[in-house]
């Protein structure tokens, strides 16, 4: 093996009583993509934060190209050549500034003289953008860009630093297939230039595409190293979980009466109208690329947006929600995607997060009844298998997977007619995903269920029926039985809309 770019020995880090890193030993070689796998709470994020200068390690050493490396701040890590692209896109960009300023932000923060030369900055920014294949007007504010472009800006910004080590933390979670492909090409080019790359992902498709080497992490230590082609994927998953993962076996029940019926629904002007029926006791997965209309459909069903045309009926009565409040009152619940933005109330404990939508049921004459809240929280924590010390734990003390379980439990605590889950497996490890899946299926007989997922693998694990959304319309329906994955993929990608990039 080539000389390691970065070498970690016995790295330890604790937060209070919680020992998160328990002696991590890891070498990362130049020109190699190392995929880091680990369940939620295994310590991946903490490891990244130590490397990029957010946290200082309690013990252990890191050497970068033979020199001791202990960055005191993220900008120190950057200067030393360790560049990190975070999972949360808005960590990487300043939305109010234009693209050029964002691309040169680190340069500006370094103190590049007191005055800025717009023309020079833009020219330099265009070079940086071109190097990663980002085609936008650099004078546009980042807030006006599509999510995928914002991410490219944050990656391009990182590239401007000519990194020795590039860390990518779930970079594809909000990219479409074409955009992800562009990112992969970029990563391959950097690999060829001799950059060491640490790639963190739960997505099997990314891992298969990129990995030269897989490192599994469990309980704050490296639990397995896998090199040499072909890579042992199931071994890596086993090392990450500490046990085998079983295949999911879907038994499709007989669907009941229709709960939701949509007729002639048009999600945006010009889109093809479609019908959708969600019967009781059926789990429907709706899949499609980013921008295919999944969010638009979820918003229409939950009353956050109005359809361009078409009608909705719920339990054979007209259903025309104008707000989320009305949808919830009608028994239509939505567990939204991007939990930290749309769902988690950071100041609240688990109990208060759980009971948030149904406070009326937990109160008498406007006064909350703590006993009623606590009973519900204890029941749901138990049923969902949320790993915590007590329901009074702060929500942010939980790992991502457990936070997501609480968010799903929030909407399962009460009986619904239609439960919509938008990307319920986002940033969730395979074990937590299986737990959430099992819970969705086990409770499905009392309602209709619609799950929006971008990953086909996830649809196959959860659904009785899979619908494919493309260009804001349903283009295919498949019973989840002896399914032809290639046919679905063709539907997903074939009619794919032109990337919705505005010409600037």
């Amino acid at each position: 093996m080539t000389e390691a770019t970065i070498k970690l020995v016995g790295l330890r880090k604790a937060f209070g009583k919680n020992q998160v890193l328990r002696g991590v030993d890891l070498d990362l070689a130049p020109g190699q993509v190392t995929v880091l796998m680990g369940a939620n709470g295994a310590g991946k994020s903490t490891l990244v934060k130590v490397l990029c200068g957010v946290h200082a390690a309690d013990a252990g050493t890191v050497t970068l190209a033979g020199v001791a490396f202990a960055p005191a701040s993220p900008s120190a890590a950057l200067r030393a050549g360790v560049v990190t692209v975070h999972q949360n896109i808005n960590d990487g960009v300043v939305p109010d500034l234009d693209v050029a300023s964002n691309l040169l932000l680190d340069h500006l923060a370094d103190g590049a003289g007191a005055f800025l030369n717009d023309r020079k900055m833009r020219a330099r920014a265009r070079e940086i953008a071109a190097a990663v294949g980002l085609e936008v007007d650099v004078a546009r504010p980042v807030a006006g860009l599509a999510l995928a472009d914002r991410q490219l800006v944050s990656i391009a910004r990182a590239m401007a630093q000519e990194p020795q080590l590039l860390i990518l933390d779930e970079p594809t979670s909000s990219l479409s297939a074409t955009e992800a492909e562009r990112l992969f090409a970029l990563i391959e080019r950097l690999r060829a230039q001799g950059v060491a790359i640490l790639y963190i992902s739960h997505r099997m498709s990314d891992i298969r595409r990129l990995a030269d080497r897989i490192v599994s992490m469990r309980d704050g230590a490296i639990s397995g190293r896998f090199e040499g082609q072909p890579l042992d994927y199931s071994g890596a998953v086993r090392a990450m979980l500490g046990h085998e993962i079983t295949e999911v076996d879907i038994t499709i029940p007989t669907p009941g009466a229709p709960v939701l019926e949509a007729r002639g629904l048009v999600l945006r002007p010009g889109a093809r109208p479609f019908d959708l029926t969600a019967p009781q006791n059926e789990v429907i997965a709706i899949t499609g690329l980013v921008g295919s209309g999944k969010t638009a459909l979820a918003e229409v069903l939950f009353g956050l947006a109005q359809p361009t045309a078409g009608s909705l009926r719920l339990d054979d009565a007209p259903y025309t929600p104008r707000t989320a409040t009305e949808a919830v009152a009608a028994g239509v619940f939505l567990c939204p995607k991007d939990r930290l933005i749309n769902a988690v109330v950071a100041d609240f404990d688990i109990t208060r997060n759980l009971t948030l939508p149904f406070l009326r049921r937990h109160s008498r004459a406007h006064f909350l009844r703590r006993a009623s809240e606590n009973a519900t929280a204890t029941r749901m924590v138990g049923e969902m298998g949320v790993v915590c010390q007590s329901p009074a734990d702060g929500i942010l003390t939980l790992s991502g997977g457990n936070q997501q379980k609480v968010m799903v439990a929030r909407w399962m605590a009460e009986a619904s007619r239609l439960l919509i889950l938008d990307e319920p497996f986002q940033g969730v490890d395979i074990q937590a995903r299986r737990d959430i899946c099992a819970k969705i299926r086990a409770t499905a007989q009392t309602r209709a269920t619609i799950v929006f997922v971008a990953e086909l693998d996830e649809a196959l694990e959860v659904a009785d029926r899979i619908l494919v959304l493309s260009e804001h319309s349903i283009v295919g329906a498949h019973r989840n039985e002896n399914i032809d994955v290639a046919a679905i993929m063709a539907e997903v990608v074939d009619a794919a809309p032109e990337t919705t990039r505005e010409l600037a």
Binding site: A14, F15, G16, T323, A327, L356, S363, H366
Partner: protein
């Protein structure tokens, strides 16, 4: 961090401020003669009653993640309005109080609508409202203070008087164990503090307001009517500020244009100090009341030790900075998750 050290920090965050306050009382009790008497205690309460009530209003807006800079101006507007109603219009105390409360609610409503409908940032909307009110309250009297016998812009003389009942609101003292011990304004403060605490902590509306303050988007997607609760918070703030203004008018007995300059800063300081009480790290009614009391004790003690009056603002500022350190630096270290 080892467990012992960690729990020590937690204890410090939780009880540090109360210990500091107890220490202050012991210190003043032993050095300032007459500090530990019922009348001294009541004097402290009376001195913080008005700012305390205003601070409870600010607390309501802080809970929903907003901020109300117009409270001081609302209070002085209520002072001027109640005086005008009684002295110039010669109406009863009932009308003075009613119109002031309506004015406070209306200002809160406008603030709230500017923020949720017109999307004006909260600080700017309420700052604009502050300037507007400071100016508006001076127009009817051409900038002069209001008192019985003053001459009006049209040349006539104002003959109305402050009614006895109205003045009682600010000056009357109830008998409690000792005769003439408890001022009515302190009773109002305690009643309002308890009511705001109950509303915020024990009702579902309070819970939703905290949820909105922490993550408005999540609260909206959970079915909460975010805009309505925000407007309600500004209306609570406006009404409580006008109550403070009424009590101020009743204490002064005249519509003094120059009074109430410090109300805003003192109230904001009390509400922010409240973050540190019992390690709450969030706006809360109990903490706000304690925060107001803390400032009152400090100033009364220093006055009794003959510290010059001009050092008071400096000391208030220092206390505020210490309280903010308690809230943000220490509690952030104590509760940092692994993210």
């Amino acid at each position: 961090m080892n467990p012992d050290k960690r729990s020590a920090v937690e204890l410090m965050i939780r009880y540090g401020f109360l210990v500091l306050m107890a220490g202050l009382i012991v210190f003043f009790g032993s050095t300032a003669e007459g500090f530990l008497t019922p009348f001294s205690a009541v004097f402290i309460l009376q001195s913080v009653a008005i700012t305390g009530i205003l601070a409870l209003g600010v607390t309501a807006t802080l809970v929903v993640g907003g901020f109300d800079l117009s409270i001081g101006a609302v209070a002085t507007s209520a002072l001027m309005l109640s005086s005008y109603v009684m002295v110039v219009w010669e109406l009863s105390a009932f009308w003075a109080v009613l119109l002031c409360l309506l004015m406070g609610a209306a200002v809160g409503l406008v603030n709230g609508l500017l923020i949720v409908k017109m999307k004006v940032p909260d600080l700017l909307a309420t700052l604009g409202m502050m300037f507007l009110l400071v100016g508006a309250q001076r127009i009817p009297t051409e900038g002069r203070s209001i008192s019985t016998g003053m001459s009006l812009p049209d040349g006539s003389t104002a003959n109305g008087t402050f009614s006895e009942g109205f003045l009682m609101l600010g000056r009357h003292r109830l008998d409690l164990i000792l005769p003439d011990l408890l001022p009515l304004s302190v009773v109002f403060l305690i009643a309002i503090a308890v009511a705001v605490w109950v509303f915020l902590e024990l009702t579902r509306h309070g819970r939703l307001m905290y949820a909105i303050g922490s993550n408005a988007q999540a609260a909206a997607l959970a079915g909460a009517n975010v805009n309505r609760y925000k407007v309600v918070a500004y209306m609570i703030s406006g009404v409580l500020a006008s109550v403070g203004g009424i009590l101020l008018a009743a204490r002064l007995g005249r519509g003094d244009v120059a009074s109430g300059n410090n109300l805003l800063l003192d109230a904001v300081a009390a509400a922010l100090i409240g973050f540190a009480v019992l390690g709450a790290s969030k706006p809360n009614a109990f903490g706000t009341a304690i925060g107001a009391l803390f400032v009152g004790i400090l100033l009364q003690g220093l006055t009794m030790l003959n510290a010059p009056y001009y050092t008071q603002d400096f000391i208030k500022g220092a206390v505020l900075v210490v309280a903010l350190v308690f809230t943000f630096a220490l509690s952030a270290r104590g509760s940092r998750g692994r993210g």
